[in-house]
């Protein structure tokens, strides 16, 4: 697959403070890359650098083959950007605003009109296209912001926290919109909301304190989430030593008189033998759950691990 956006070794300092250090990003065609991190991790700084609003101190950015620093015009023509605060002019109507945005991106005549009509349709702005942007609800403003980013059909769309400050219904609508956009464009999405990444993204980069601490597909992240824990409860529980002695069981933790947590090595799954034993010895199995780490847990683990590692180095 073609690589549409490639950034290497991006670094940015604000005075003595490191905002972002040695970040590599690649986005392929039709892919949604989630850029995940706590507030203040350097997400927005990175997004600003990718969109040409902030010059990196180090590193290079190529968008669809054009270098953003040496050929900024060609590169920016391939780029749609929605900053954290949507860049809207409150005194224009939605239709006028999008027309101007299309003009800024070199669209003219019929192409301009059809592009604006298409984007109004895609973003569901038909009802409000004659209303002033300043009077719209936050959700519609956000949609107008997204429409602005995709009106010229750029190769790469960069969305910086597109769902922040919206209500749950609006968030759902915006997510559907983003998924639709990804059919035609590559999307880089920054967020601090984990389920959002889970729902939308193909690949994830987790960033903390300006450094990438995890970069892989979502499937790999799920892999990491599968842990080696079973929660099990019996109406008629056996003595704990008996469970302990079963094959492949590493250790047993007592949660209540009937409920236990069984830890095992991922390569040796004791579920099978446990079930056979439970049936044959009439322990009356009531519940058997494979416990997963939530994405939050992994997130915290990764961040804590990273902080710990940095502390050991120091």
């Amino acid at each position: 697959m073609t690589i549409l956006l490639e950034a290497q070794n991006l670094s940015r300092f604000f005075g003595p403070n490191i905002a972002v250090q040695n970040i590599d990003i690649t986005v392929k065609r039709g892919e949604i890359l989630g850029f995940l991190g706590p507030n203040g991790a350097g997400k927005s700084t990175t997004m600003k650098m990718l969109s040409g609003n902030l010059a990196p101190d180090n590193g290079e950015i190529r968008i669809n083959g054009f270098d953003l620093l040496t050929q900024p015009k060609q590169a920016k023509a391939q780029l749609g950007y929605l900053p954290e605060n949507p860049p809207l002019y409150r005194e224009l109507t939605v239709g006028e605003y999008l027309k101007h945005c299309a003009r800024l991106n070199r669209l003219k005549g019929k192409a301009l009109k059809s592009a604006v009509d298409t984007v109004i349709d895609r973003c569901g702005l038909g009802e409000v296209q004659r209303r002033l942007i300043g009077q719209l609800s936050k959700g519609y403003q956000q949609r107008t912001g997204i429409a602005q980013a995709i009106v010229h059909s750029p190769a790469v769309v960069i969305l910086d926290e597109p769902t922040s400050g919206l209500d749950p219904v609006q968030i759902r609508q915006i997510r559907e919109l983003i998924r639709e956009i990804a059919n035609e464009h590559s999307v880089i999405l920054s967020t601090h909301i984990l389920p959002e990444v889970e729902m939308l993204c193909d690949r994830v980069q987790i960033i903390s304190k300006g450094q990438v601490i995890f970069a892989d597909s979502l499937a790999a992240l799920h892999q990491q989430r599968l842990s080696s824990r079973l929660r099990i409860s019996f109406a008629n529980p056996p003595p704990i030593a008996e469970i302990q002695s079963l094959e492949h069981v590493a250790s047993v933790e007592v949660l209540s008189s009937q409920q236990f947590r069984i830890l095992y090595h991922p390569e040796n799954d004791p579920t099978e033998s446990l079930l056979i034993q439970a049936v044959s010895k009439q322990w009356q199995l009531q519940e058997l759950v494979r416990e997963q780490d939530s994405l939050e847990d992994i997130f915290m683990q990764l961040i804590n691990f990273d902080t710990a590692a940095v502390e050991t180095i120091n």
Binding site: A55, Y89, C101, L104
Partner: protein, 249 residues
Amino acid sequence: MWCVARLEFSRLFLSPFAWVMLALVQFLLAYLFLSHIDYFAQIQGQISAIPGAPGVTELVIAPLLNNAALVLLMIAPFITMRAFADEHRNHSLPLLISAPLSASQIVFGKYIAYLGFFLLQLVLIALMPLSLIAGSAIDLYQLSAGMIGLVLLVASFVAAGIYLSSLTTQPIIAAVMTFCLLFLLWIIDFAAASASAGEVNWLGWLSLLGHFQPLLAGQISSVDLSFFVLFCVVFLLLTIRRLDAARLS
């Protein structure tokens, strides 16, 4: 560049601000114009006897254009204050920055839009002296020299205003700074006038008024023209540099 100008121009006229400014300035100058005519009508009988006495162009049109220059000096900062300060405050500048435009295109586009507004204002102002043609002979050459002077003057006001607007996120601070700068450059002449003869009069050279007065009297010299052109170019270049620097800071 033209798309930025178009965007900026339509935004300017979508706010009531531009319309109010146009109307009020026109009202103010119309009042001054009428009082000048009134005065001229009073003294007309007396001066007609003097050979080579000043005519209607010197006594009505020149003072009117001079007043127009002062009024524009006072309102220009309030129009240009929005140029970049408003964008900074609205966080809307990224729209222009991430569009395929260079910093100079953004700056020139905005400059053209604001200049367009003031040219419109000048056309309205020029209608007043031109209306005198109906009843009197006027010196069209002196009038056009004065109008050229006014165009160059507002071009300089706008250039300075846009630059100062790019320095701050508060439009009102931009307006006050612009007003102070323009006013200082207007009155700097007074200090220069008191300097003893023979000294290099560099303060006088900086004065906007000093370069505008000869044009008003109908005297077009390349020194004055190049002063205004240089003034605009310097401030526009500073603005472009400022916009580029914002990416690096």
